[in-house]
């Protein structure tokens, strides 16, 4: 473990050093939203105004669309896309890194998924602790914290005129080594960082006691609650696509002229197409079953398999829902009514 300090005056040389060593992904403002994109050389881009990315950094390791292989129609040969590069994600929020840890388990529990794992293993994550939590944050209800290091390689804490950086993994130490010229050794900033994180924890206003939810979800399968909480749902994919732990994908062949590619892309259990059988039958025919699945997957099915809740409390699904379907509202009703 190494502890370093980055003076904000040295920000651009730090960023440049990271970008020289690896492909750097950075939160960039795109219209009214933030998303992670390859660093474009704009060294003035800082993390000052950035709250959290609307599209979570899961998109770096599990891109919305990923080419698996390429082919020519009528030809039996396939070719592979370009090899993935070593990447570093700068400025991910701790909850988003914890989410990657949750998704990691899915892609290696039976068979190893080479596409995801190659990407994931080649990606290092530098997290930025949240000094000011956001309106719908509830990470502390799910064993998280604004300064959690789970899933991170380096934790970074904003101390005003400088950042405190602490490596969590060996990969993290190597990354800090690459940018050594921009960094100074820490001297007591660690405790200041701890205080900031503790203070931030106290600012989180939303919460849920998850005790017993899994059992209730099992018992209350047919409860009228599901009709009530899904009625306003528009059936769009905003909650799932913007969720850092949602990882469902579809695989399709896309052909232009004779150029074919097999790719996989995010899919959403909120879409009718998701469970549609070839016969035309759909075991989840309405928004009721789909809403129940979204909640049950995170708070029951994943828990049964991995002994862990597949939600990190980032609050994106709450904030981005156009009709204010609120997972905390649903969960507290599950606890009370089922």
């Amino acid at each position: 473990m190494s502890e370093k300090v980055l003076q904000k005056a040295n920000w651009s040389s730090f960023v440049q050093a990271l970008a020289d060593a690896r492909e750097l992904w950075f939160p960039v403002k795109d219209g009214p939203i933030y998303k992670f994109a390859p660093y474009s050389g704009d060294v003035d881009a800082g993390l000052e105004e950035y709250a959290y990315s609307s599209v979570p950094p899961k998109a770096v390791v599990l891109p919305q669309t990923e080419t698996m292989f390429l082919y020519q129609v009528g030809d039996k040969e396939i070719s592979l896309p370009e090899e993935k590069k070593e990447k570093v994600v700068l400025g991910a929020r701790p909850c988003d890194a914890r989410a990657m840890d949750i998704v990691d388990r899915v892609f290696q529990w039976d068979e190893d998924d080479p596409y995801y794992l190659e990407n994931r293993n080649k990606t290092a994550v530098i997290g930025l602790a949240c000094n000011e939590p956001f309106v719908n944050c509830f990470c502390t209800s799910l064993d998280g914290s604004p300064g959690s290091t789970q899933g991170l390689d380096v934790l970074m804490v904003d101390l005003g005129d400088k950042y405190y950086l602490r490596s969590v993994t060996d990969k993290g130490s190597r990354i800090l080594g690459d940018a050594e010229s921009a960094l100074e050794d820490a001297s007591g900033e660690g405790s200041q960082a701890e205080e900031i994180i503790k203070e931030a924890e106290g600012k989180i206003k939303r919460s849920i006691d998850t005790e017993g939810i899994r059992e209730k979800l099992e018992e209350g399968w047919e409860a009228p609650l599901w009709d009530e909480v899904s009625r306003a749902c528009l059936g769009c994919g905003a909650c799932t696509f913007l969720c850092p732990t949602c990882h469902c994908f579809d695989i399709q062949d896309e052909v232009e002229g004779f150029d074919g590619r097999r790719c996989r892309m995010w899919d959403s259990c909120m879409f009718g197409e998701y469970t549609l059988h070839t016969s035309g039958h759909n075991p989840r025919p309405s928004r009721k079953e789909r809403t129940r699945n979204r909640i049950s997957h995170k708070y029951r099915y994943y828990v049964e398999k991995f002994d862990k809740i597949a939600c990190v409390g980032c609050g994106r699904c709450i904030t981005s829902c156009p009709v204010n379907i609120d997972i905390l509202d649903i969960l507290s009703r599950v606890k009370e009514e089922l």
Partner: protein, 327 residues
């Protein structure tokens, strides 16, 4: 305008009717400025109804969104009516659906409400950030009054209203079984916000503009689903055989998606702005739809959702129609 007690009282009366299943309105949300669509089933539920500039969903979309599932053997279908709170734009959506026969007039009860425009939450974001506290809002002359934790903030209407509402010419319902309160005097001349600016830009500039916007699309289809006019049971976007639009998220496919959606709304879009308000990527979808609204209006003097007895745009033909686009 109209006071909340009158709405609640009337809603109670409507849901007490034997031929009415429920009434769809709004109630307070769970945080900040959020308001959520709400189903009043029993008369006492009506106490939770709210009506404010924060009610930004077009409720007409729920008339066609409800899934029609096969019933268990022996169970009779529920033939009771759905009641709906409608403002100008919601009622125009219902009227458009009526002319397309997407909705049966006998199956809906429309309770009309005058409206002075809804707030665009994106315009509140910087100056009045959302808090955990559930805030309230009301119309007061030419202002919007926000009530956050007991503290009242008066904001000029034009600062925070949705662009579509700023130029709305139908603040009163065009069709309703009963309209409550006093009619609102329309405030705007016909105009199509954001369209002229793009029309005057060069081809390359326009292309660059939309390339940047569509690249950001996450293909969640919130715009399609929030739109009361998008109700095809078999949507072109969901088709796999043939796959008209690939699922890949890239500029090309995203553009194909948005062009397809825009063209399916020609002569049908009622300018409620719901698509743009729900977009999590902040794409100015209204600009595309408004361009088409403007074209249809100028070339055919047609305005959708204004005449319950009318015929849909695509089904109407007039020998005097302009044909200057035919090569």
């Amino acid at each position: 305008m109209v006071d909340l007690e009158t709405i609640r009282k009337k809603a109670k009366e409507i849901v007490s009717r034997e031929d009415v299943k429920h009434l769809i309105g709004w109630r307070k949300g769970t945080f900040g400025y959020r308001v959520t669509p709400y189903w009043v089933e029993a008369p006492e539920d009506a106490e939770e109804l709210v009506y404010s500039p924060l009610c930004n969903t077009n409720l007409a979309t729920y008339l066609t969104l409800a899934e029609k599932l096969p019933l268990p053997k022996g169970q009779e279908p529920d033939r009771r009516k759905t009641a709906l709170l409608v403002r100008g734009c919601d009622s125009r959506a219902v009227v458009q659906l009526l002319t397309e026969r997407g909705v049966d007039r006998e199956q809906v009860v429309l309770l009309g409400l005058p409206c002075r425009g809804v707030v665009d939450l994106r315009k509140l974001k910087d100056s009045y950030p959302e808090d955990n506290e559930v805030a309230d809002a009301e119309w007061k002359e030419d202002k919007i009054v926000l009530n956050v934790s007991g503290e009242k903030k008066e904001i000029p209407r034009e600062e925070v209203l949705d662009d579509h509402c700023l130029v709305c010419r139908y603040p009163n319902p065009v069709e309703a079984d009963e309209t409550l309160g006093e009619k609102v005097e329309p405030w705007a001349e016909e105009s199509h916000p954001g369209v002229e600016e793009l029309e005057n830009a060069s081809f390359d500039k326009r292309w660059d503009f939309w390339e940047k916007e569509f690249e950001r699309c996450i293909r969640c289809y919130a715009c399609r689903n929030a739109c009361p006019m998008c109700y095809c049971e078999d949507c072109i976007l969901d088709r796999l055989n043939p796959t008209w639009i690939y699922r890949s998220n890239n500029y090309s496919e995203n553009t194909a998606f948005h062009i397809a959606r825009a063209f399916h709304l020609v002569g049908r879009c009622v300018s409620c702005g719901a698509c743009e308000r729900v977009c999590p990527a902040g794409i100015p979808l209204g600009k595309i739809n408004q361009k088409l609204v403007k074209e249809v209006r100028e070339k055919y003097e047609f305005e959708p959702g204004t005449d319950p007895e009318g015929v849909p745009f695509q089904a109407s033909y007039n020998p005097q129609d302009q044909e200057d686009f035919i090569l």
